[in-house]
Subunit: 106 residues, 2 copies
DNA sequence: ACGAACGGTAAGCTACGACTTACCGATGCG
DNA sequence: CGCATCGGTAAGTCGTAGCTTACCGTTCGT
């Protein structure tokens, strides 16, 4: 896999990209369909799809003159894990502090 | 709370900010200490801390001439929840697709 | 075989975010 | 009291991510 994980956060840091992911989560779509639902142009969508594809988050499939994109299960869960790692590392040392604070969450 | 959640992803999208959070997770620190451990200047750290504070992720406490920052448990878990919501929404509709794919990995 | 639909790519513009230097107020110490 | 340390703020620079328009190749339909 030459997925070359671009840090995860960089990828989902962009709102348009998150929208695309959420959109594809509902069901696979062609590029034009995505562009219709988003406030950006079709080329912009194409560029985002490229990033998502490089990250292994989506895969594409030719369907006639159209190109249908869908989420890639493996890529999605890989990214999810990567982000979870951050939280794990953070909350790990952080746990002690929380315990000191005890009841703080109102 | 006028925390005004700046979308979560925007906040942790920046590597320096993530580094600060991880750093504070270990133990509270003064601004200068943070600047020493990071490859950026002290004012830059200050600006990041501002963002993190506005987001309710950290809280500060005056200690003499120094100002000690620490993670805010409530803010951290709130942010975590917010990000989890994205995953939940995404994976929800996505689940069906995964089941269709069944064994597709490898 | 021609025209239309679809989508990827190139080139260029723009806006914004991160960083720096410079300055200032506040606090602690001799 | 000055003097030094610490940190927040202002102002300005710079890089880059995201967007658009324009163009081109490919595929389907008739």
């Amino acid at each position: 896999m030459a997925t070359y994980q671009a840090d995860g956060w960089e990828i989902l840091g962009d709102p348009s990209r998150r929208a695309i992911v959420e959109c594809l989560a509902v069901r696979p779509r062609a590029v034009g369909e995505l562009a219709d639902e988003l406030p950006i142009s079709r080329p912009a969508v194409s560029q985002h799809l490229r990033v998502l594809k490089d990250a292994g988050l989506v895969e594409d499939e030719a369907a006639g003159t159209r190109r249908v994109y869908r989420l890639n299960p493996a890529g999605v869960s890989a990214l999810r894990d990567q982000l979870d790692m951050f939280w794990r590392r953070t909350l790990e040392g952080f746990q002690e502090i929380v315990e000191e604070e005890d009841e703080e969450k109102s």
